[in-house]
Symmetry: C2
Subunit: 336 residues, 2 copies
């Protein structure tokens, strides 16, 4: 299977690293030969129909910051769309940064790949939150596969879990802690009694929160995931604007202490149900599966037959997220 | 797909109930037409190539205790093996009671079905714990599918979860609370400070523990599941005798109180790793995913790429367990 990666940040590099680690075992176990024929970042691309050397690719990115510096096969200034025209590939891995304003350039990349008859795997929340129906429709029309497990919860499996493992059940609603950064901040505030600003600073210093933390702390990231789950698992037809969103920046140490006294914790919860799409801080009981700490994500799926089923896993991380992308690729291979 | 059910206790009746509830929606969603052509219990069988009426079947069993009393198509005294020769079917659902002495009659039922070229779905731990390699080998040889999600954890998905959803990861070890009855007893003892015998009696009155509770409380049931997970997920080649087993009947209220003071709970934990196959009471931290109460099951899969992933779900229940069987059937249908 010839692979093209657009976007070479944390997730893209994770995919290259995972390819490097697992290529031999994947070939042996599934008969699937993974060949990375192109990878692109803002600087341009590295393109080699005979397959790029993933270790050399990772080192080039690390040393120069630019994938286009890849020896011999580097191409400066070429755009993602041009790369898709340039190379012969079977599956696009779209992992450019999430843009929740207009979902570009990811949306155009994905649509072009599908119209060209290529399968697509993505971790990019922008196009899924803003244009899900368009993408699902285009995939169906062009008879290609479209997988996006990594877009929600990183290494916490939920989308394929609902579609495949729970295929006998109807999923009626989903509740989850869908953002690791806010879970880290709230867990630390509860443990240390520290203020929101102080804890956010600490999280930023540790690289858990970004310099501009808005997407995480104001609930925007979790809201994107609510939309993706609503469309893909509950078969709804909604976009980002349909979600009621409230973040955690107004949470005081006092409210957390008060909750703790009563045996509760405050968590940022995403709710996905036919009646309500919402992200907001809520009380959860200590000792419940939702009391998980650190950057963990958790989701409970309420089903018609199996009652409640809960999954817990790492919400982020380069290799962790890449593992979900690899599972999607293997799933595409198996369904061939 | 023509279905034959052998065994019509709690799980078998759950399957019939689920067929009755979901037949139309399954046909609509997957194009899969489920037709129950035979069902058998100790009294005999009901056989109808045109499809049995699942509601009438359930009522017959409820009113008379005997499936062979099914109007017109009841057959008294016919054995499971004879039923498999009698009817034309595509998929056997083997849900006779678990026998961990010699795995019969389930083992013979399953082998016969496979040799006749039929797919098999089972929740029966006996043959899986005692003859896994033989069954897996026979399935491969005869090019039939063999699925057994319901054998471990009822409605807590773990086997297909590991094989499908986490296909990109290697599972290195598994820790879990794999028996709901003991989890219920230990949770109640921790909450009420009551003795083991008193709590067991209460659980028996509520129908959570059986009259002869040995399989559950002495860890035999959990040990069967350890074997199934070791063989099917960690690709080991082990049987029941390879598991070190210690149950919960020696746990005192004092030891539970002592653990609680230090922030711990006592749970019956199954460990599955290349170095150790064990079922024993262990300390788990309050606030960890393993602190779940009631009859819930939980399992943590340690992976090479996604770190730890945890699933929580109902370990038992007629319809809940049947939902796992239905997911297996759908999975067989999709892989056709």
């Amino acid at each position: 299977m010839k692979i093209c990666i657009l976007g070479f940040g944390s997730v893209g590099q994770g995919v290259a690293r995972v390819f490097s680690m697992k290529r031999d075992i994947i070939k042996q176990e599934y008969g699937l030969d993974l060949k990375l024929v192109a990878a692109a970042d803002r600087s341009g691309a590295a393109i080699d129909p005979d397959g790029l050397d993933t270790d050399l690719l990772l080192n080039t990115k690390k040393d120069t910051g630019k994938i286009s510096e890849y020896p011999k096969h580097g191409v400066k200034g070429i755009s993602g769309m041009e790369v898709l025209d340039e190379v012969d590939y079977d599956c696009l891995i779209e992992v450019t940064p999430t843009n929740i304003e207009d979902a570009e350039p990811a949306r155009s990349h994905i649509l072009k790949a599908m119209k060209d008859g290529k399968n697509v795997v993505t971790s990019n929340k922008g196009p899924l939150a803003l244009s899900f129906k368009e993408l699902a429709h285009t995939a169906a029309l062009n008879k290609v596969q479209f997988k996006y497990e990594a877009s929600v919860g990183g290494a916490m499996p939920i989308i394929n879990f609902a579609h495949e493992t729970l295929s006998g059940c109807k999923i009626e609603s989903i509740y989850g802690i869908l953002n690791g950064t806010t879970n880290y901040i709230l867990s630390r505030m509860a443990k240390e009694g520290s203020s929101y600003d102080q804890t956010l600073n600490e999280a930023q210093e540790m690289g858990i929160a970004e310099t501009d933390p808005t997407q995480d702390v104001e609930g925007e990231d979790a809201a994107c995931k609510v939309v993706i789950l609503a469309n893909s698992i509950l078969n709804m037809d909604v976009t980002y604007d349909d979600v009621e969103v409230k973040g955690i920046s107004q949470i005081t140490p006092e409210s957390i202490t008060l909750a703790k006294k009563e045996g509760y914790l405050i968590k940022l919860i995403g709710e996905v149900s036919p009646d309500s799409l919402e992200v907001s801080p809520r009380l959860v009981k200590e000792g419940s599966p939702f009391a998980v700490e650190g950057t963990l994500n958790v989701a409970t799926l309420k089903t018609d037959l199996a009652d409640e089923v809960t999954v817990v896993g790492k919400g982020a991380g380069s290799v962790e997220t890449a593992s979900a992308i690899l599972s999607d690729i293997i799933s595409i291979w198996k369904m061939k």
